[in-house]
């Protein structure tokens, strides 16, 4: 029963107030893209056993989507940040590296 802090309204919301949205930082491929790229965008997933970047919506709260860095093996939450982010904040990445020295990075 996870709790995640919504970066928009500051509520540490419990899982039942949220909906999960799968892997974050996917690049959208549209018309003109290769079959491989389109497949990778829509279906292929990292699904790591470890640090995972993912989308959540504060559905029963402010309704905003946000992103979270979470360990899928321990469920530790390293941090949450706005959905309008091209990549995880530098300080968050640093924090994760400190806790998971051989983390291969978010890509």
């Amino acid at each position: 029963m996870l709790t995640l802090e919504c970066p928009y309204c500051g509520v540490k919301a419990e899982e039942t107030e949220l909906t999960a949205g799968g892997e974050a930082h996917l690049k959208r491929y549209g018309p003109g893209s290769s079959d491989e790229d389109f497949e990778s965008y829509l279906f292929v997933r990292k699904n790591p056993k470890g640090v995972h970047f993912e989308r959540w919506r504060h559905a029963y709260g402010c309704g905003k989507w946000f992103l979270a860095a979470r360990c899928t093996a321990t469920l530790e939450v390293f941090g949450t940040y706005p959905a309008q982010s091209k990549e995880p904040p530098a300080e968050l990445q640093a924090k994760i590296r400190a806790k998971r020295p051989n983390w291969e990075g978010y890509r």
Binding site: E14, D35, V77, A83
Partner: protein, 993 residues
């Protein structure tokens, strides 16, 4: 035989006798009794039968670990099977029945299994019952099933109610013994928000029974004062009768409060499920005593030593007049003293250790009791009750050197910390060689959302068994300052692990040593599992069913592990434990469901006119959480007639449809048009203000997901209608794209679905009806099709869309939801002379089918793209992108062999069954008959007086006129011709008048 003592019993009130029944027999107990103490007090030693061999079973423990003493409790809507008598408080009039026997507890046919037990070792069923093939299902399994199961099946709807509650705390302390209390005092004084919960109705745990002295007072008094002190702290919450069932991730503790189990029918909720979000959890859950494995240790009258003294001290009950004590530690000598103090006889204490010279043994000797050190029990004599024990040398093979007559045996094999909560979320254990126990490994606790330790175990739950150290540990762990409470108790000599008694017992004896008395798992079974290669502890558990009974192995697991490890000649930690899973003890399904039953089982969404429909014969159809009228039944009318009547009336006069459930989403902003062009397959940015346009939405995977009419309200504002099921989904989806992909686009959305009541007014008389209401001009000239107007109608604020889903002249009128009912009634009143009549969703479905309009959820099922439905006209060629476009370019999506929409007409005019498939010649590589299409919608059209259908057919549109075979039930084949899907008024003359 067990009986009630003339005095004593710190928990019972002898001035408040209670009467109850067991198998119909009246019995007497006292307020403060548990069912178990009351039964023992009434001389009922045998209370049930075991699972596999149906052997006699008696009370073995005094708490949550009890494996045997389960009964059926209550009557009718309050009957519950498998109630653990040791944790169920007695109440006046309680009706109990024993379980798992036929015809009676004393004489049980199933006990035949016991006679042939040697032929039914662990896993025997994996090795036989295989021939002939049908036999397992039809012969053997029914037999196994009949003898299996425990309690009776409840027959009635539950009369009780349940509820949830949420709580938040800095620290939740689980267990109301002296450890938990000491931790609560420390945390409470530190100003933390504290919850202290205790599963029983009493505080204090073991210490109050064992005569411990704390800070110079009797433990009982210390506990009383401490609880008073805690009760006065505003930051501390105390909860008795509340069991911590499970610990889940991020500090989510599930606590099960038994509010009214002891006061059934008093109107309060029976159980309450607390969901406590804990900053930290302190488990002060104590320890559970282990039995010893000697032959006949399952006979009624053989009990845990700690339980024996609980019954004497707490409830004034003696398990027997002559109780032999068998042990491998000093602790059990306390039981001897308790029995002696109660004036009962202890013929001997049999101590497996070579010598017993501790303070407690000496005290017992001093009272003239024989202490047989280095001895063990070869076997217990008796059947349905203990008649004696035969004593042997522990180091030997079990030759009897002496026989002692007795009617009870108190056994103590050491203690196992209760580590369930510690382990639920991944906390690890370590093996304590000296005390022969698994205890929490402080270096490997369960971690929370911050990655830090989430649980701390204290006291006996942490493997500390002496009161003084327990208090110190509990105080420290809870951040206590100053000195911890101090305790004085007898000094104990070390225990000595004893896993089999006697040490050299042969197979014959080992087949009579019970590890799991409920499931009838014996030492020999575990050894057999090891011999056959089921070496993993999980394999052994599953192969023998060790620890899978309703007590989940609370008393049997460690003994079983030890036997297994010995059989594999490896150290116990190398064998490891099985996984601890919630709940700690079973919790009611009712509590898990909470308040959600009956009317509030799930939300039921109602339109403003819902009540009217209900009182006017609505035959409901659930659509998502909404209820929509499928049709309106008139007296003596069948569903089919009603639907046909509604259609005819709409086609010939005028009908009303409650369309309020349709989704309505406002999309506004400088980039709104651009956004909608990405969302819909066609162009919405070019839609002129004042006009409506039908649009399709696809998933990014290309499949049709929703459709509806889009309305341009102002230069920068659109209103998007969605399907009933689509409103929340599509709105959420719009926000997803706006927030996560195109966040630089200036667009706002608002879901205003419920702001409006919407009514479709359809039929030749529709215009007349609106004109009768009066207000805005709805004439053909002033208000052409596919446009919208705003104004008042019969005094109602209304926005009208001239759109048709029925093929009739049709206006969809939106008014404020609060006025919806009034508007609906106004329409009916004004329309009386015009033959107005409401119609339901089925009439709507059929009318749209007659027109060849597709329906999301009928023609689509998540695998259909717009191109399959010949909707190319609704897909813009001008756009280089829209959601789903790229997906629709994939190989399989442009395959000319895709199944495409056509009309279907049976040759005999009958209605083709819904969902039927069209067969093709031959079979595929897997021998399945080839298919070439399927029916997506099919109805009897009252308008055309015959069956009409739509379907998806391989290359369908190119095959007009072809006849297909639809094999349906029992070999029957329906023949249908491929036709144009528009069956009625092709040129749309009716709707454009």
């Amino acid at each position: 035989m067990s009986t009630r003592l003339s005095k004593g019993g710190r928990l019972i009130d002898r001035t408040k006798p209670l009467s109850f029944t067991f198998n119909g027999r009246r019995m007497k107990g006292y307020h403060g009794d548990t069912l178990a103490s009351a039964l023992l007090g009434a001389g009922q030693t045998m209370v049930g039968r075991s699972f596999k061999y149906h052997r006699p079973r008696g009370v073995m423990a005094s708490g949550a670990e009890e494996p045997n003493a389960l009964v059926g409790l209550g009557q009718g809507g309050r009957f519950e099977p498998n109630q653990r008598t040791t944790t169920t408080e007695l109440f006046e009039g309680a009706e109990t029945i024993s379980q798992n026997h036929w015809p009676s507890l004393e004489f049980d046919i199933g006990a035949i299994n016991n006679k042939v037990a040697r032929f039914l070792p662990a896993g025997f069923y994996y090795k036989t019952f295989m021939f002939p093939r049908f036999a397992w299902k039809h012969v053997f399994e029914p037999i196994v099933r009949q003898s299996a199961g425990l309690g009776k099946v409840p027959q009635h709807r539950d009369e009780d109610r349940y509820e949830y509650a949420y709580a938040f705390a800095d620290v939740v302390i689980v267990g109301g013994g002296i450890a938990g209390i000491a931790s609560a005092l420390a945390a409470g004084r530190a100003g933390k928000r504290v919850w202290l919960i205790e599963q029983s109705a009493h505080w204090g745990g073991r210490a109050v029974v064992d005569g411990v002295q704390i800070d110079g007072q009797d433990a009982g008094d210390w506990v009383k004062n401490a609880i008073e002190t805690l009760g006065k702290m505003a930051n501390v919450t105390l909860r008795g009768r509340t069991m911590a069932a499970g610990l889940y991730d991020h500090g989510y503790l599930l606590a099960y409060e038994r509010i009214a189990d002891h006061t059934p029918g008093d109107g309060r909720p029976r159980h309450r499920l607390w969901r406590i979000r804990a900053g930290h959890v302190v488990t002060a859950t104590g320890a559970i005593e282990r039995p010893l494995s000697f032959a006949g240790n399952d006979i009624p009258g053989v009990m845990l030593a700690s339980a024996v003294r609980d019954y004497v001290v707490n409830w004034g009950v003696s398990p027997g007049d002559r109780t032999v004590i068998v042990t491998n530690s000093d602790d059990a000598y306390r039981t001897a003293l308790a029995l002696l103090d109660a004036g009962l006889v202890v013929p001997a204490v049999i101590d497996a250790r070579p010598e017993a010279k501790g303070e407690l043994p000496e005290a017992v000797r001093a009272r003239g009791v024989r202490v047989l050190a280095g001895h063990g029990i070869a076997k217990v004599k008796g059947g349905k009750e203990v008649t004696g024990v035969s004593v042997c040398i522990q180091a030997g093979e079990g030759a009897e050197i002496e026989s002692i007559a007795c009617d009870a045996v108190a056994m103590s094999g050491g203690w196992s910390p209760v580590v369930h909560l510690w382990s639920h979320c991944g906390g690890k254990l370590l093996w304590d060689e000296a005390q022969a126990m698994f205890r929490p490994d402080p270096k490997r606790p369960a971690t929370g959302d911050d990655g830090a330790a989430m649980v701390t175990a204290v006291g006996a739950a942490n493997g500390i068994l002496t009161p003084h150290e327990i208090l110190a540990d509990a105080h420290r762990a809870a951040g206590g300052t100053g000195t911890a409470p101090g305790a004085v108790a007898a000094v104990e000599a070390p225990m000595q692990p004893v896993w089999i008694m006697p040490q050299g017992a042969g197979p014959a004896l080992r087949m009579k040593m019970w590890l799991d008395p409920q499931n009838d798992v014996k030492v020999s079974d575990v050894q057999l599992a090891a011999r056959e290669g089921y070496e993993s502890v999980e394999h052994t558990k599953r192969y023998t069913t060790l620890g899978m009974a309703t007590d989940q192995g609370k008393i049997s697991n460690i003994n079983g592990l030890a036997v297994l490890s010995d059989a594999l000649s490896q150290a116990i930690p190398a064998t490891g434990t099985t996984t601890f899973r919630p709940p700690y003890t079973p919790i009611s399904m009712g509590a898990i469901a909470g308040e959600a039953r009956g009317e509030i089982f799930q939300p039921l969404r109602r339109t403003p006119m819902h009540g009217w429909h209900e009182t006017h014969g609505a035959h409901w159809e659930p659509v998502g959480q909404w209820r929509r009228a499928y049709c309106y039944l008139r007296s003596g009318e069948g569903v089919h007639d009603a639907v046909n009547r509604e259609i005819r009336n709409t086609r010939n006069a005028v009908g009303l449809l409650d369309a309020s459930t349709l989704g309505k989403i406002i999309v506004k902003g400088p980039d709104a048009g651009r956004f909608l062009d990405m969302l819909y397959t066609n162009l919405m940015s070019t839609l002129p203000v004042g006009k409506c346009r039908y649009g399709l939405m696809c998933t990014e995977n290309g499949f049709l997901s929703d459709d509806g009419v889009v309305v341009r309200l102002t230069e920068d504002t659109w209103l998007c209608h969605t399907t009933t099921g689509g409103a929340e989904r599509i709105h959420g989806w719009m926000e997803d794209w706006l927030q996560c992909e195109w966040w630089d686009w200036k667009v706002y959305t608002a879901n205003v679905t419920e702001e409006y009541a919407q009514v479709a007014v359809a039929g030749p008389n529709a215009r007349k009806l609106l004109e009768k209401l009066g207000g805005m001009d709805v004439s053909k000239e002033a208000f052409p099709a596919m446009e919208w107007r705003e104004g008042t109608l019969g005094g109602f604020r209304a926005r009208i869309y001239r759109i048709s889903f029925s093929g009739e002249l049709s206006y969809e009128v939106a008014v404020p939801a609060s006025e919806g009912l009034a508007f609906w009634e106004a329409l009916l009143k004004a329309g009386e002379a015009l033959g107005v009549m409401p119609y339901g969703t089925e009439a709507m479905h059929i009318m749209r089918a007659e027109k060849g309009f597709i329906m999301i959820g009928d023609e689509t099922d998540g695998t259909v793209i717009p191109q399959d439905l010949n909707l190319q006209w609704a897909i813009s060629k001008k756009k280089d992108d829209y959601l789903g476009k790229r997906a629709q370019e994939r190989k399989h999506m442009v395959d000319p062999d895709r199944w495409k929409l056509v009309g279907l007409e049976t040759l005999d005019g009958s209605v083709i069954p819904d969902g039927a498939y069209a067969a093709a010649e031959g079979v595929n590589a897997n021998g399945q008959r080839n298919m070439q299409g399927r029916v997506t919608s099919t109805y009897f059209s009252p308008t055309l007086g015959k069956g009409i259908a739509m379907g998806l057919v391989k290359r369908g549109p190119d095959r007009m006129g072809e006849v297909l075979d639809f094999p349906v039930d029992n070999g029957k084949v329906v023949k249908a011709r491929i036709v144009d899907p528009v069956f009625f008024d092709k040129d749309g003359e009716k709707q454009n008048v």
